[in-house]
Each structure stands twice: as structure tokens, then as C-alpha cells.
Amino acid sequence: MSIKVRYFASLKESIGRSNDHLEITGLATVADVWRYANPNKALPDNSLAAVNMDYVELNSAVKDGDEVAFFPPVTGG
């Protein structure tokens, strides 16, 4: 399946890139997506995740064509 992964703000800086395009089978959850894309780095504890621009938990399922995003707590306003 095809998954677009996006990273923002301090998390983007710490991993050194803003997105990944994964073509892979066997990824079941958002946490799997992070582990596959970033095998040598644990997701920081306070990170937030979204699938198709809605907030999700890390154990949420992913499917072909999803856009998965990881980012730190938001600080707008």
C-alpha cells in the first residue's frame, strides 16, 4: 500500500525531513508507520498523530492512500 507521511515543526527538524512516501505491505497502524519510516528513532512521548487531517491514536488503523502526520503539541493562537 501507499502511505504519505508528513512531519511538522520541531519533529520535522529533529528527523531532518518533512515527508516520506512509503510503498509497503503489512503496516497496520499509525505506530507501525512511524517505526517503518523512522527505525532508529522513537516517537517523542508528547507527539500527536493525524490520519487524513483528523487526530488519531497511535494504535489507529491505516489503509492504502492515507496521509499520516506526526507533530509536537500545537502552539498556535
Binding site: R6, F8, A9, S10, N46, A50, M53, D54, Y55, A69, F71, P72, P73, V74, T75, G76, G77
Partner: protein
């Protein structure tokens, strides 16, 4: 109802005036307008701040703000609402955010605008990076709960 992300400096008072003027059919219907404007300070955590960059997640920002306004519409009898948020490079004294709510009575206007603002602070995907007078840069870590 209108949600707008601005890459350039905006005048919140002009935004309110234009938005209210365009909604001619609502004239006479509302009796209360609550306005919140967030403005960039030149200090934070004991340091002088000379500028800031506001990053956002295009698409998700609008989606979350629309959801927040929709939640407010379910809870209060809102006649009209306007949310404007800045992105990009910002200087002290420039507006960052505007939330304006028009209702029949003041209680609903105050409560709904507070709800929208607090939800925006915790859920809208924006991130601030400050540039200090010392030339150092730092990401803000977390927004505080406005009800505490």
C-alpha cells in the same frame, strides 16, 4: 461563518468590519459581538523576543478550525462567526489570531468565542518558533490551558 489563514499581516478591526458589512441580511438580528485578538508580545519566559515564525499544516488547520466552529454552533445560537489566523514570519505587536462571534445576547457571544479560542489553542495545528534578541531560536513547547 468564515475561517481564514493569512500569510501577511492583517488588521483585525478591518476584518471584523468587512465581515459584518458583507452579512447585510444579519443586520438587526444580533445584539452582541464578542471579539478576541491575540497579539505577538516582544517578551516570553523572561527573554526579549524579536520575531516569530508560525508554521502550520495546510488543510488540517482549516479542517480542525471548521470542526471547532461547528461544535460551537451546536452549543450556542451563533448568528455569525469569524476566525482569522496568521502564519509565516511575524513581528511583535502584529496580530496572530482573531475570533469574533455574533449572537443575540452577550452570554452566548462570550462563551462561544472563549470555546473557539481555547479549542484552537489545543487542537489547531500551528507551531510557533521564536527568534530571541540573542539570535537564538526556540520552538514553543506547549500552550497553557486558558481556563487555569
Amino acid at each position: 461563518m468564515h475561517i481564514k489563514i493569512c500569510a501577511e499581516a492583517f488588521d483585525p478591526w478591518q476584518e471584523i468590519q468587512v465581515h459584518q458589512h458583507l452579512a447585510k441580511d444579519l443586520a438587526g438580528k444580533f445584539g452582541a459581538t464578542s471579539v478576541f485578538i491575540g497579539t505577538m508580545r516582544d517578551f516570553n519566559d523572561g527573554d526579549d523576543v524579536k520575531g516569530m515564525t508560525l508554521e502550520h499544516y495546510p488543510g488540517m488547520t482549516e479542517k480542525q478550525l471548521e470542526k471547532i466552529v461547528a461544535e460551537a454552533l451546536q452549543q450556542w445560537p451563533i448568528i455569525n462567526a469569524l476566525v482569522v489566523h496568521r502564519v509565516g514570519d511575524i513581528l511583535p505587536n502584529e496580530p496572530i489570531v482573531l475570533v469574533a462571534v455574533w449572537t443575540s445576547h452577550r452570554g452566548d457571544a462570550f462563551d462561544a468565542s472563549r470555546y473557539i479560542m481555547e479549542a484552537l489553542k489545543s487542537r489547531a495545528p500551528f507551531w510557533k518558533k521564536e527568534r530571541l534578541k540573542s539570535q537564538a531560536e526556540r520552538w514553543l513547547v506547549k500552550n497553557t490551558d486558558g481556563y487555569l
